[in-house]
Symmetry: C2
Subunit: 429 residues, 2 copies
């Protein structure tokens, strides 16, 4: 079928197409269904990949190579083996790593909370004693990042995402001129939800920032550092290497976790930072906690072994995830691309496709899907306070459903997206 | 040997005894030794008791009875089974329980941090926006409690511990007259370090408090709730039962953990509170974290099963811990009691003996021990800012050393305690 762009249709053609697509949509609605593309969650088959981690010999879990008893108190910043594993993976030294609990979001929230209450290394006073503050939010981005800084009353500043990463001219302007700008949220590789990996120039521009504030921090959430699923894998420049050239290492907090490597419900997280920051945070964390689960750290080390082991393991994830992204992209390519009503990314990794429709159609499309039995992430979710200024971005999460469910979901999505676009275009003519 | 009280000795007798005990001490110093009674840590043999928890069938860990996949995201406040286990143990409903990570201290710190930044249920504004605040600290108490509130700049107010618990007349006076008093640290059963269990009257007096502040909270750290080791076990009145009679349930945050039930390095912690508090905190925590390790929660449920299972398991701990406390108490009874220079508690549970010597001798005694190769908790540690106003309390932690090491340590301690007392008494005559 040769399809004509909706943008080129005249009023009559639009009316005819609207009638046809509405018919398709109503036919789909007639069959009850319960589909879900809302959640960036691993599929159970991905979790099965790590089940051997639960059968490791207990005798090998109880003590570190250095003789520390993982079952007892001690080593509040994590066991050496686990620091070494993440250090190799992220290209830093083990002394730059603090191992946390099962949620890296928790490490990020706590880093903001400590900065507010106690201050960061090199800062003259706690963030919380400096009046109204701003946090930069590249959009579309991760709703839970934005929620942390919204919770604490920051003014959230939208920064547009370009194909190379956040608009660095704008970032530089804010960071270098305004001392109330205290941080920026970044997902530098396979960004949530746009799938973009920051270019080397973008990473270098981050490292070269000269903040107006003496306590500005880049929150570098490297959540998808080893989560490529294509033959081609994006390369992200190591921000600490770039910072070393600028002497700006203290400006960065990097985060990562095994939530989408092993278990989202029983993983291990890390905070990576400069020696100065680590020393500062270690003292603060020593008041906060006795430490995190060291037996689970040992499990991860024994199961994943080293960076090569992680990459090997991630190939198994890729084999499960790749067909799902292909399924989504194939449907969009066939059913939406010719119509001129949307664009989307073609990520080599990560967990999301960011669908950008015509302005003013995202929430309508999500509502249409919901009515027909398909749950999507709420429109607006990837924006601070859930407000998409253009109302045109929809986050598609292909990983959790099984393939047949996903196929049905995408089919439905395409019809809803067409209908939303047609309603909008018809009303405008 | 019939020993005469040092308090009844004249100057010549003191001089002779001082010379004799100094000789004993110097003889002990002549033999190099490395002993440690400083840490309230389980002995490895206690940790061995829970090793079967690391060999559970993985198939039984991956899903809750309700079908939730413990390996994936979800259930941020914990799995139902784990809430039910702690609810039974602590005499509350599962809906009153939030399951945390491996450190209950972390839950307490976070509760203080959230109160400062966001406020508590029913409070008009965050603690952090109300100027200089006070926190009540029953002394001697747990150094890490005091450190949390010291970190955040609270004025820490010493409240003397009586044999029935904190001096409730003083607590009532502070709490009911001063709206800047925002909380109190309590270890209500087998208190750290005095081993005291609060009397029913004390618990009822807590429940009956009418705080001047609308956002006052009792931090009820029930760390040793099932940690009796004697035939006789102390009974602690359930504070929520007492509060229900007063309609004051919202005033209490209770904490507990399995750190000294299963593993100090891989346990599970809980926060227990009223429906109003749980609802309030659940929303706040939803911004903070994706949730805690649910597979470890399943492990604990399958291993411990229910409250009866926990109590059965704790009998095995008791069999290891009891002889160690007997060893310490026997030595103190034989070598110190007749001398009139100290008193101490005889706890039925918990992890500590609090030794109260003559005023001005605790730090000297700890220094003498250190010089002879025995590490003790620093004198002053059980007091806010590490300052024991009388310099007479020493926390003895008998659990971590093996029995032969403990015997040698206590022997040395008694000689050092006598020497410190004799030096003091001699100087005063």
């Amino acid at each position: 079928m040769l399809m004509k762009s909706y943008l080129d249709m005249n009023k009559a053609e639009l009316a005819q197409e609207l009638s046809a697509v509405r018919g398709q949509y109503e036919a789909l609605c007639a069959v009850p269904r319960k589909l879900d593309m809302s959640r960036g969650k691993p599929n159970p088959s991905q979790l099965d990949l790590s089940m051997p981690m639960l059968s490791l010999d207990p005798a090998g879990l109880s003590h570190t190579a250095g003789g520390a008893d993982t079952r007892n108190y001690g080593q509040p910043t994590g066991i050496d083996e686990c620091k070494a594993l993440f250090a190799e993976l992220l290209g830093v030294e083990p002394s730059n790593v603090i191992v946390g609990g099962q949620s890296s979001l928790n490490l990020m929230y706590d880093s903001v909370a400590r900065a507010l209450l106690l201050g960061v290394y090199g800062g003259k006073k706690p963030w919380g004693q400096q009046g109204q503050l701003k946090f930069l939010c590249p959009v579309p981005g991760y709703d839970r990042h934005f929620a942390v800084t919204a919770e604490f009353g920051f003014e959230l500043v939208n920064i547009p995402m370009l194909p190379t990463g956040p608009d660095m001219a704008l970032v530089k302007k804010y960071v270098e001129s305004d001392p109330t700008v205290k941080g920026i949220w970044c997902v530098p590789k396979y960004s949530n939800p746009s799938g973009i990996t920051y270019s080397d120039e973008t990473v270098r521009a981050f490292a070269a920032l000269k903040p107006a504030a003496d306590d500005f921090r880049i929150f570098w959430d490297n959540a998808y550092c080893v989560h490529g699923f294509d033959d081609e894998d994006d390369e992200l420049l190591n921000i600490f290497d770039a910072c070393r050239e600028q002497g700006s290492q203290d400006m960065v907090y990097e985060f990562a976790s095994t939530s989408k490597i092993t278990f989202g419900g029983a993983g291990v997280s890390v905070l990576v930072a400069s020696e100065n920051n680590i020393k500062h945070i270690t003292r603060q964390m020593g008041v906060q906690t006795i430490g995190h689960d060291k037996i689970n750290q040992m499990r991860h080390v024994q199961f994943l072994k080293n960076a090569a082991g992680v990459r090997e393991h991630m190939k198994k994830h890729a084999a499960i995830v790749r067909p799902k992204f292909q399924c989504v992209l194939r449907a969009l390519d066939e059913q939406i691309a010719p119509l001129g009503i949307a664009k989307w990314n073609r990520p080599h990794g990560g967990y999301f496709v960011a669908y950008e429709g015509l302005p003013g159609t995202a929430s309508r499309c999500v509502a249409l899907c919901k009515q027909a039995g398909l749950v999507l992430t709420p429109a607006g979710a990837p924006f601070p306070h859930g407000k998409d200024p253009q109302d045109n971005v929809i986050r598609i999460a292909p990983t959790f459903p099984d393939l047949p469910e996903l196929e049905a979901a995408v089919e439905l999505f395409c019809v809803a997206a067409r209908l939303a676009a047609l309603e909008k275009l018809s009303a405008e003519k």
